[in-house]
C-alpha cells in the first residue's frame, strides 16, 4: 500500500500531493472491474465455443445414425410343403429357393426373368437364413404356411427411411418405378414396417448393410481390452511403485523417467510397427488376433498408467510413510498396507483413462492386421477379430448408402462405452478417495 502511494506520488507532480490513496484506488477500480468482466467473458466464450462444437458433433452423429437402430422388415407368407425340407438334414434344404417361391406366390403377375430378378432384389439375402433358423428351431413347421417377417434389402430400407427420394427421375435412384410399385403393394397391405434392429447388436460384420452388426467388433474390443488390462495394470503399478518408493535417485532412474515421459507422447502407429516386428515376425504370434492387439495396446497405455500411478503415489503425504516407519513397519509393509491403498483410486483412474484411450485406437492395429473384414464373431483370444474403431473406419469406407447411418450408430455405441468407462473412473475416485 505504502509503495503504491509512493509510486503514485512520484508519478504525479507536486501539485497532486493531497490526492489520497483511496482516490487512486477508486479511480482505477472501474477499470479493474472491467478487466475482470472481460476476462470472465473470454472464459465463458471459450466454454460456449467448445460446447457448440461438441453439440454440433453429437447432433450430426445422432442425426445421421439414429435411423440405423430401426430396420425395415417385410411380412412374407412362406408355404413349407412336405418335400421342401430335407428330413435327414433340414439345415441343408434350399431355403433361398423356398423364399423365392414365396415371393413369386405373392406377386403372381411377375413372370419376366429380368423383372423377377428386380423383385428378388427387394428382399435381403439374409431372408433365407431367417427361414432356416425358424425351421431348425421348430421342425414341426414343415407342411404348414408360416408368416415370417423377413429383412428387406438395404435399398428398400433406405427408401422407407427417406434417404432415397421417390420423386427424382427413375435413372437417378437405385430402385426403379416397377420396384416402387411392388413396395406400394406391400405398404397398402401393411406388410412392410420398421422394427428395432436387433441384427445390429447381435451380428458380426457383413457386406450387406442389413446383415451387418457391431457385436463382432464389441467382442473383439472386449478381448483386446482384457489382454491390455491384464498386462498393463500389474506391470504399470509395479513399475510405478518401484520407481517412486524403492529406486535410488540416480542417473539411471532419471534416464528411465525421461524415457517413460517420452514414450507417452510417441505416435501410436510406432507401437504398431514395433508389434509387427517383434510379436508377429520374431515371436510368430498369430496375425489379426486380440492377443497381439492387446499386447501392442498395452505398450501404448503403459506410460500413461505409470505416470498417473506415480502422481498418485506422490500425492500420499510423507507423514503417513514416516508414521508407519516410526512404529516399526518395514519398507514393504509401509508400501503395501499404507501407501498403496491410499494411492489406489488415483491409479485406477489413470488405468481406466489409459484403457479408454486404447479402446479408441486404430493406427497401431493396422500394422498387425486387425483392420480386416471379419464376419465370424470372435470366440477367444486367438480368433481373428476387429475392434470398434476399426469397424467404424471400414464402414465409413463402404460404397453402400446404408452404411452411412450404420457408421454413425457404431460411433454412438463406441461413445457409450467411453462414457461409461469414464463414469466408472469418476465413481471409483469418489468412492475410494480420502482427503487430509
Amino acid at each position: 500500500m505504502n509503495k503504491s502511494t509512493k509510486q503514485a506520488g512520484a508519478g504525479s507532480s507536486g501539485t497532486s500531493r493531497r490526492e489520497r490513496t483511496i482516490d487512486i484506488v477508486n479511480k482505477r477500480l472501474e477499470k479493474r472491474y472491467r478487466n475482470e468482466k472481460r476476462f470472465r467473458l473470454y472464459g465463458l466464450l471459450s466454454i460456449m465455443a467448445s460446447v457448440a462444437f461438441l453439440m454440433f458433433l453429437l447432433t450430426s452423429i445422432v442425426g445421421n445414425g439414429y435411423t440405423a437402430f430401426l430396420q425395415t422388415y417385410i411380412k412374407l407368407d412362406v408355404q413349407l410343403e412336405q418335400g421342401m425340407i430335407d428330413k435327414e438334414n433340414p439345415g441343408r434344404s434350399d431355403f433361398q429357393g423356398i423364399i423365392k417361391q414365396a415371393i413369386r406366390a405373392y406377386y403372381p403377375e411377375v413372370n419376366d426373368r429380368k423383372e423377377r430378378r428386380e423383385l428378388y432384389a427387394l428382399f435381403s439375402s439374409g431372408a433365407a437364413f431367417q427361414l432356416r433358423d425358424a425351421v431348425l428351431k421348430d421342425p414341426a413347421l414343415s407342411g404348414t404356411t408360416v408368416s415370417l417377417w423377413v429383412l428387406a434389402d438395404d435399398d428398400v430400407d433406405m427408401l422407407m427411411k427417406g434417404h432415397i427420394k421417390r420423386d427424382v427421375p427413375e435413372s437417378e435412384r437405385r430402385l426403379n418405378n416397377r420396384q416402387l410399385q411392388w413396395i406400394g403393394k406391400l405398404e397398402a397391405e401393411k406388410r412392410i414396417e420398421k422394427r428395432f434392429n436387433t441384427t445390429f447388436f447381435t451380428a458380426g460384420d457383413s457386406r450387406e448393410p442389413e446383415l451387418a452388426g457391431i457385436w463382432g467388433a464389441v467382442k473383439g474390443s472386449f478381448y483386446t481390452m482384457l489382454v491390455t488390462l491384464a498386462l498393463s495394470f500389474p506391470i504399470g503399478i509395479a513399475a510405478a511403485v518401484y520407481l517412486e518408493e524403492f529406486a535410488p535417485k540416480n542417473l539411471a532412474t532419471d534416464f528411465i523417467e525421461v524415457n517413460i515421459n517420452n514414450l507417452a507422447a510417441v505416435p501410436s502407429i510406432v507401437f504398431g510397427l514395433l508389434g509387427l516386428a517383434v510379436f508377429l515376425n520374431f515371436f510368430g504370434m498369430p496375425r489379426s488376433t486380440p492377443l497381439v492387439g492387446g499386447i501392442v495396446l498395452m505398450l501404448m497405455t503403459l506410460p500413461t498408467i505409470i505416470i498417473a500411478s506415480r502422481a498418485a503415489l506422490k500425492a500420499v503425504p510423507p507423514s503417513i510413510r514416516e508414521a508407519a516407519l516410526g512404529v516399526g513397519s518395514s519398507k514393504l509393509q509401509v508400501v503395501t498396507s499404507h501407501v498403496l491403498p491410499l494411492a489406489l483410486p488415483g491409479m485406477l483412474t489413470g488405468t481406466i483413462i489409459g484403457m479408454a484411450q486404447a479402446l479408441g485406437e486404430t493406427a497401431p492395429l493396422l500394422m498387425i492386421g486387425m483392420v480386416a473384414f471379419i464376419v465370424d464373431v470372435p470366440g477367444g483370444f486367438t480368433d481373428p477379430a476387429a475392434v470398434m474403431p476399426v469397424q467404424i473406419y471400414l464402414w465409413a469406407d463402404s460404397p453402400e448408402r446404408a452404411f452411412v447411418e450404420r457408421t454413425s450408430a457404431a460411433i454412438m455405441v463406441l461413445l457409450a462405452f467411453l462414457i461409461s468407462m469414464n463414469a466408472l473412473a469418476v465413481v471409483m475416485r469418489k468412492r475410494f478417495e480420502r482427503r487430509w
Binding site: S125, V168, E172, R207, I235, T336, F373, I374, V375, R401
Partner: protein, 377 residues
C-alpha cells in the same frame, strides 16, 4: 492390504500364462507346406500353429468384391469365413511373397498384374506355385456433381489438365513448359470456363496407377513427338506422362472414395477420380464425365468401349491348397457363374464381368491350379 498384492500377483500370473498360450503350439505340426514348397525361411518352421480360416490380403479395389464372396462362402459352407485385409495391391504382394506357412496369407487381391520383381521375390522365398486368376474389370471414372453439366473430355484434355509439364502451347516440338492451364477453357474452347480442380487418389493407390497408365499415357501419345519418345527413351516418356501437377489443381483426397463423393457434392465445379462402384451407388448425386465420347456405364466398360477400365486379379498360393481348409471351395465359389457371371451377385456390387470364354478359361485355371511362370511377365 495383502489383498492388493495377491490381486496383483494373480493378474501377473494371468498375463504370463496368456503369453504362454500365445507362443504355445510352437512345435505343432512340422509343416507339410514346406516339403511341398521346398526351402522356406526359418521363421516358417519355428511357428506352426494351425489356422482354420483363409487369410486374404491386397487391393482395396478388389476388397468390396472379395468380401462378398467370402461372406457367401462362410454362410453356405461349413468352413469359417475368410479374413480379408485391405492393404493395397503392393502391400498385398509384399505379405504374400514373404513365404509359405500358416503365418503368411493364402491369397492376395490385386488391381494390377503381378510385377516380374514381385514374382521373383515369391520364388526367392519359396513360394513357387502362384496361380493367377482374373476376376473381371473395374472402371475408373471422372465424375462431377449432378448440379453441374457433365464434362466431355478427351484423354488429351485430361493429360493437358493434369500433367506437371506439358508441351509448349506455341507448338514447338520437344519443348516442355510447366503446366500453364488454369481453366478448362484454356485447354479446349469447348469446355466450360471453370477452374481446373480435380480430386483424386494419392500415389500409393492402385487406382492412381491405373489412371495414370490409362488416361494420362493415352493423352500424352496424342502428341506425335512424345509418342515417338516412348520407343527411344522410355524413362523420359514415363516421366512426362506419369507426373501429375503439384500446383493445387490436382488435390489428393486420400484413399476414401466416399469422402471424394461428399466433397464433389459440395463443390459442383470440381471433378473427382474414383472407382466405378462408387459412381454406381451414387447415381443420384454424381455423373460420370464422357471420356473420348463414351460415358462410363456398365455395358460400355464390359465391352471395352470406355477407355478407363482395368482388369482385377487375385493370386493363390498353390502350396496352401489342401493345407488350409476350404481353399479349393473358396476358389470354386469365386469362379462360379452365380458369383462372377453376367448376372452374378458380384455385378450387383459393381464388378464388370469378363466375357464368357475368359471366365471359362480362368475357372479352369482355378480348378486345375495352373501356376504362372515369372518369365511370362
Amino acid at each position: 492390504m495383502k489383498k492388493t498384492v495377491t490381486l496383483a500377483a494373480f493378474l501377473l500370473l494371468l498375463a504370463g500364462s496368456l503369453s504362454v498360450i500365445g507362443c504355445g503350439p510352437k512345435a505343432g505340426q512340422p509343416g507339410k507346406e514346406e516339403q511341398a514348397a521346398g526351402e522356406t525361411g526359418q521363421a516358417g518352421e519355428e511357428m506352426q500353429s494351425a489356422r482354420d480360416y483363409i487369410s486374404i490380403v491386397g487391393s482395396s479395389t478388389v476388397y468390396p468384391f472379395a468380401t462378398v464372396v467370402a461372406e457367401q462362402f462362410g454362410k453356405t459352407t461349413d468352413f469359417k469365413t475368410p479374413k480379408i485385409e485391405s492393404t493395397g495391391s503392393g502391400g498385398g504382394f509384399k505379405l504374400f511373397s514373404a513365404g509359405v506357412g500358416v503365418e503368411h496369407p493364402d491369397i492376395t487381391n490385386a488391381s494390377r498384374r503381378i510385377k516380374k520383381s514381385e514374382c521373383e521375390k515369391c520364388a526367392e522365398n519359396g513360394v513357387t506355385g502362384v496361380v493367377e486368376i482374373k476376376v473381371g474389370y473395374d472402371g475408373i471414372v471422372m465424375a462431377n456433381s449432378k448440379k453441374a453439366e457433365p464434362f466431355k473430355l478427351s484423354s488429351k484434355d485430361v493429360f493437358l489438365a493434369l500433367a506437371k509439364e506439358v508441351p509448349n502451347p506455341s507448338g514447338a516440338e520437344g519443348e516442355l513448359v510447366p503446366n500453364p492451364y488454369k481453366t478448362w477453357k484454356d485447354i479446349n474452347p469447348e469446355l466450360p470456363e471453370t477452374k481446373i480442380e480435380v480430386l483424386g487418389p494419392p500415389p500409393t493407390s492402385g487406382t492412381r496407377d491405373a489412371f495414370v497408365e490409362l488416361a494420362m499415357e493415352a493423352g500424352a501419345k496424342e502428341f506425335a513427338w512424345i509418342k515417338a519418345l516412348k520407343k527411344e527413351d522410355k524413362d523420359k516418356f514415363k516421366q512426362i506422362s506419369h507426373t501429375i501437377r503439384e500446383d493445387g489443381a490436382y488435390i489428393e483426397a486420400g484413399e476414401n472414395d466416399n469422402l471424394i463423393v461428399q466433397k464433389l457434392d459440395a463443390n459442383p465445379d470440381a471433378l473427382g477420380i474414383f472407382g466405378f462402384s462408387f459412381l454406381d451407388q451414387n447415381t443420384d448425386k454424381m455423373q460420370g464425365a464422357f471420356i473420348d465420347g463414351v460415358q462410363p456405364a456398365f455395358e460400355a466398360i464390359a465391352d471395352g468401349s470406355y477407355p478407363l477400365s482395368r482388369p482385377l486379379f487375385f493370386y493363390v498360393k498353390k502350396a496352401h491348397v489342401g493345407t488350409i481348409p476350404g481353399m479349393s471351395e473358396y476358389l470354386t465359389e469365386f469362379t462360379s457363374e452365380k458369383a462372377w457371371g453376367d448376372e452374378g451377385y458380384l455385378t450387383e456390387k459393381g464388378l464388370i464381368p469378363m466375357p464368357k470364354e475368359e471366365r471359362e478359361k480362368y475357372a479352369k485355371v482355378a480348378k486345375e491350379l495352373i501356376a504362372i511362370s515369372c518369365d511370362e511377365l
